[in-house]
Amino acid sequence: MSGKTVLLVDDSKVARMMTRKVIESHLTGWTVLEAASGEEGLERLADSTPDFVILDVNMPGMGGMEAARRMRALAPSVRITMLTANIQDPVRHQAEDLGVGFLTKPVRDAELLEFLVGEP
């Protein structure tokens, strides 16, 4: 598969590092972009047109759900998943209602790869 672009949106630098590590160790040639807030994520989406967006839920300022909602409107074809420590059912249902994926932290390689390339 040719290299795709993934935008990671998480206020934790460490969380971004861990997710980036999984992508870079399995998917050669892929580009990983980062944003530290929902607002910054929206800006990066506009200027870099990623193929995938991976969003934390609980962030200062605009949360991940609101960012996902706006991203859906701005770029309907981009594939989005939440990646969150918040495992509560209502949060999962919100993601389902938005039509985005729902992955839980700590990230599991197989689950992330399934989201990105359809196979673990």
Binding site: K13, V14, N58, M59, P60, A85, N86, Q88, P106
Partner: protein, 210 residues
């Protein structure tokens, strides 16, 4: 304790916590690739001073680092993940792997502990919320460093009403191969503890009816 919560509810609280902390332990185990050993949780009603003294005793008066998350919903309180300060860097090293240079590791320590706390505390809170079928809203985690008393002060200062007693739920955990241990604690004031017990009673009633 017996006056405040019946034996059935106490048993239910312990079971709910066992499951919730089991989720948290599974997350921690995955992060550091080690088996996590858990103690049996205990639940007690203490004055803030007694709770601080107990934590102080268990941490042997040494400084600890903690990640604290305030939560609110049907019941409000704080949940804490506490590590002895001298071992926190080891935990971060196990989490990020050996390829990160020590200098960068030290720089990232606080942020890494916040992310560990975020994952573990949310796993625990989320499991509780799912079992009790009541949403629990968590604030962003906060890093606290100091003696046990200072760490708990940062919570009890948040307790507005009925802060003469706190419900102190506590479990010890340790990583079997890495000589790292820590504590997970919930602190709720008595008003919230009543709401928590009511939610537990509703849970027990659902289980019995189901």
């Amino acid at each position: 304790m017996i006056d405040f919560i019946g034996e059935t509810e106490r048993d239910a609280v312990t079971e709910l916590l066992n499951i919730a902390i089991g989720h948290a332990a599974a997350s921690l185990s995955q992060l550091v690739e080690d088996e996590v050993h858990l103690s049996v949780p205990f639940v007690d009603f203490l004055t803030p001073a007694q709770a601080a003294a107990r934590l102080e005793d268990e941490t042997q008066g040494a400084d600890s680092v903690a990640v604290r998350q305030h939560f609110h919903g049907q019941f409000d309180g704080d949940i804490l993940l506490i590590f002895p300060e001298k071992r926190s860097l080891d935990l971060v090293r196990h989490m990020l792997g050996d390829q990160v240079p020590l200098e960068q590791l030290t720089e990232l320590e606080q942020e890494a502990l916040l992310e560990v706390g975020n994952i573990i505390l949310n796993a625990c809170l989320g499991s509780l919320a799912n079992q009790l079928e009541t949403p629990v809203e968590g604030s962003l985690p906060v890093y606290v460093r100091g003696h046990g008393a200072r760490i708990l002060d940062s919570c009890t200062a948040n307790q507005g009403k009925g802060s003469e007693l706190v419900m102190f739920l506590h479990v010890d955990f340790s990583l079997l191969k890495k000589d790292i241990h820590g504590y997970l604690a919930f602190v709720m004031d008595i008003v919230s503890a009543h709401h928590f017990v009511a939610a537990v009673q509703a849970y027990v009633a659902r289980q019995m009816a189901g």
